[in-house]
Subunit: 500 residues, 2 copies
């Protein structure tokens, strides 16, 4: 095959990928709309639309000619560091993953997930697990079918995990968490002890929604989120989604008695949003213009939410502006606010958990979903098992399923192997922040002055711009010198919560 | 060809149409989002998406096999009154119209229109016609190309008109308007005279947006709009769009000093919305599940906005609820409000015009766009010609293009042959209302009591449910006994504004 044929094959691949990206952008809008504004009566038609589009993009990407084009590019062998080489490698990986699933299975999965999502919302509202149970059973069965089609070496769960965190294995996560969990628990006791001086609702007051929106927007803008290319709306389960170049949308939810709920929601999603806005527009629709992995994505949200937003430096700078938006906040010093927002205490809801207990919530979910997928736990037994393990881990009796196994949307979307990437995100965030501070010692001074451009610049270069040029662990090694490990995060937690 | 082959052909046509409807629903969402929530930075990508989808649906519908299926259905000959027969007839019509346009022309048109829409918004803001001029020239040129591809007997304009109002001809509209215009003018003088007792800003006061939203929603719900299957948002140019079964979305704009702007905007769009919600879900995606024509659609919005909403009966019933939402309104009696909202006086903005001058605004646009399409008027000369004709017709000097030829969005969307359907809508509304009242003499009593179910029921049966079963003029004949004519509307205007 000569060079001009290879070029033609690459260009055809590229054109197909761009076309698929146009449709995926519309799918993202359909999903965003479903969570934000869609009237409930539209649900059946929306489910049909999403199933149709997922089937369409799947067929477009798995067509035999796509395989031929990828093969032609591989046979040609692009220069190892070229964009073409990285894109070809990732297209091969996705193609192999996608061609193993028949379109009907993909469409059935999407249709099931759309209906399950609604059943879950209703079940959570009524705290009735049985309402959701048959949907979850169907989703697990479809996930197992998909895992079997994809194949795996050690266990079915790995096949699901690989789709979100390339190369990760359940056995490695077990090892990582086996080390991490007791170390976390050793921080937890003393950290809870030190938090006793601050009450649970220390900052409780009236925070009008309009004021929250203004403050959230001001801070998101200050850290670098571009509102000409994005927005914030309201949704039950906060998320951030990229609809295409120039269109990054986050959502949050408001509590009129607690501004921190929407505020840290926005800082978290803005971290995801900055990653999305940092991807190169010219690579949009190709692997080089796509996020590296869930665990890398989550590192960005955790970094801005926790390392930046929950620090003393942050509140020293932002206290006057926060008081401008919420005059009631004047009665608290920056130090009091920092102590309140970093209060450590076991609680039921993952998204409201402090930085120490958070990963225990994740380890629980990882262990349970691993059992569900491997068939070691029946869906009907999930609530009881959840409640038992939760009490062992955090010492609290779960009062109802809404505050137990129904609290998260992920399983209702059919997403298994997703939760552990949150903990990978926490570990990656600490590791990246440690290295950024070593690379730029002036960063700490800048953060105290509310200047975020250099930190964002470092992240742009090391994390955002590469897209999928490297596998997640290779990206971590290039950025920090080491693969993901728990030491930087444990050191950060000990420093922050134990003053050690 | 035997019966089972015909059946298969019809089923394939039907399946293709349903698939296209799924994608068209997504396109409608992309358009709605662009007008309501989309960040500006997303515009170039959105333009690409809309161009891609319009090309895709065009290709899917114009594929040779679709022509074969339609031919097979025609050869078979379904029973004349059957759904299959009406759908086949309309698919033939659309297929012939669509196959005459190459996909590239459709895509170019859509891409041009998306960019023109944005240029127009900017031009209107700055009141600078030159900013919009090249876009309008390009759109006219593309419209002429399209008209030539479609073909016509008398003039190019007819080819454009036919796409919105099946069977209508510029020559017939000229005849209709030649009769209608002087009759309108004869009402105008005395109506203006009778309005002198009420000042322009008679109702001006503070009407908080939240209160407007609550009142608008309450009335829209009362006339029958289903909010489980629809919503109201904010947009510069109010519109109503059907995104699919269970998903009808209207928009309005708010003026804090004048609640009538958003209120009558909502009543108008709710009229469109009720039509959309009245189409049969089981026919969705086929001609029988689609609105008959623009002129029929507009009859529904005018009927609810004007015949219902601007009547004495309406305000007798709704005065207490309006005062509940706007306590400031208590100082006006229902009679005063009715006189204020029916004040007749020439003004610049079409969408704010009273019921007497409104159709003069339309006749002006019809005459100008006819000249633009036929090449009898240069785009560069449009503002001057607009201003000259406007002054002749309504006696006012246009102060700037924002209040002149830049005020409407239609031309920026490349929509020519659209404006006259507004006047057809006014005539149809009066004709339908006259007949509904003859058919159900108790209607007037019901309207005074705020009961709309029988009126809506009559419209459902005569106008909504048939979809495109009949051509517009056939629908009018079946519903009222006559084709569209101006007498019922003139009689209504004389009764209402001259007490004649």
């Amino acid at each position: 095959m000569n060079d001009s044929t290879t070029l033609a094959a690459y260009e055809k691949l590229h054109a197909r990928a761009k076309e698929i990206a146009l449709v995926e952008g519309a799918t993202a809008l359909l999903n965003w709309d479903e969570e934000t504004f869609m009237p409930r009566g539209a649900l059946p038609f929306r489910a049909e639309q999403l199933a149709f589009f997922s089937g369409w993009t799947h067929r477009q990407f798995t067509a035999p000619e796509v395989g031929d084009w990828i093969k032609a590019c591989e046979d040609h062998g692009f220069a190892p560091d070229s964009a073409e080489s990285a894109n070809t490698r990732e297209w091969r990986r996705s193609y192999d993953r996608a061609t193993k699933l028949p379109s009907e299975l993909v469409e059935e999965f999407n249709r099931t997930a759309t209906l399950a999502r609604d059943a879950w919302a209703e079940a959570r509202k009524r705290s009735e697990f049985v309402h959701f149970q048959p949907h979850l059973e169907k989703l697990l069965q479809l996930n197992r079918q998909m895992a079997d089609k994809w194949g795996y070496v050690e266990c079915r769960y790995d096949a699901l995990l690989d789709g979100r965190e390339r190369g990760a294995l359940a056995s490695e996560l077990k090892t990582l968490f086996a080390e991490f969990r007791p170390a976390l628990v050793s921080v937890l006791g003393p950290a809870v002890e030190r938090s006793r001086s601050v009450s649970e609702n220390f900052l409780e007051a009236d925070y009008p929604i309009a004021a929250q929106q203004a403050f959230n927007r001001e801070v998101a803008e200050a850290i670098g989120f571009d509102f000409n290319a994005g927005r914030i709306d309201t949704a039950t389960h906060p998320f951030c989604t990229g609809l295409g170049p120039g269109d990054t949308r986050m959502t949050t939810r408001y509590n009129e008695r607690d501004f921190t709920e929407s505020f840290y929601g926005v800082l978290h999603e803005a971290g995801h949003g900055l990653y999305d806005q940092g991807l190169k527009v010219e690579h949009h629709g190709t692997p080089l213009g796509s996020a590296c992995s869930m665990g890398i994505h989550e590192s960005q949200s955790r970094l801005w939410e926790n390392h930046v937003g929950r620090s003393v430096a942050f509140w020293e700078h932002w206290h006057p502006r926060a008081c401008h938006h919420f005059p009631t906040l004047k009665k608290f010093s920056p130090e009091q606010i920092v102590r309140a927002i970093n209060r450590v205490a076991p609680s039921f809801i993952r998204v409201e958990a402090d930085q120490v207990t958070y990963d225990l919530h994740i380890i629980l979910r990882f262990e349970l979903e691993l059992k569900l997928i491997e068939g070691d736990l029946k869906v009907a037994d999930l609530p009881a098992m959840w409640n038992e393990e939760f009490e062992k881990m955090l010492g609290l009796k779960v009062p109802d399923d809404a505050r137990g196994c129904l609290q998260d949307t992920h399983w209702s979307l059919g997403a298994f192997g997703y939760f552990p990437t949150y903990t990978l995100g926490n570990l990656n965030a600490s590791q990246l922040m440690q290295r950024a501070t070593q690379d730029s010692p002036q960063l700490e001074t800048e953060l105290r002055a509310g200047r975020y451009a250099n930190l964002l610049g470092w992240l742009r270069e090391k994390v955002h711009v590469p897209g999928q040029r490297h596998a997640p662990q290779e990206l971590m090694r290039r950025a920090t010198g080491q693969a993901t490990h728990s030491e930087p995060h444990l050191a950060y937690l000990r420093r922050k919560f134990l003053g050690a």
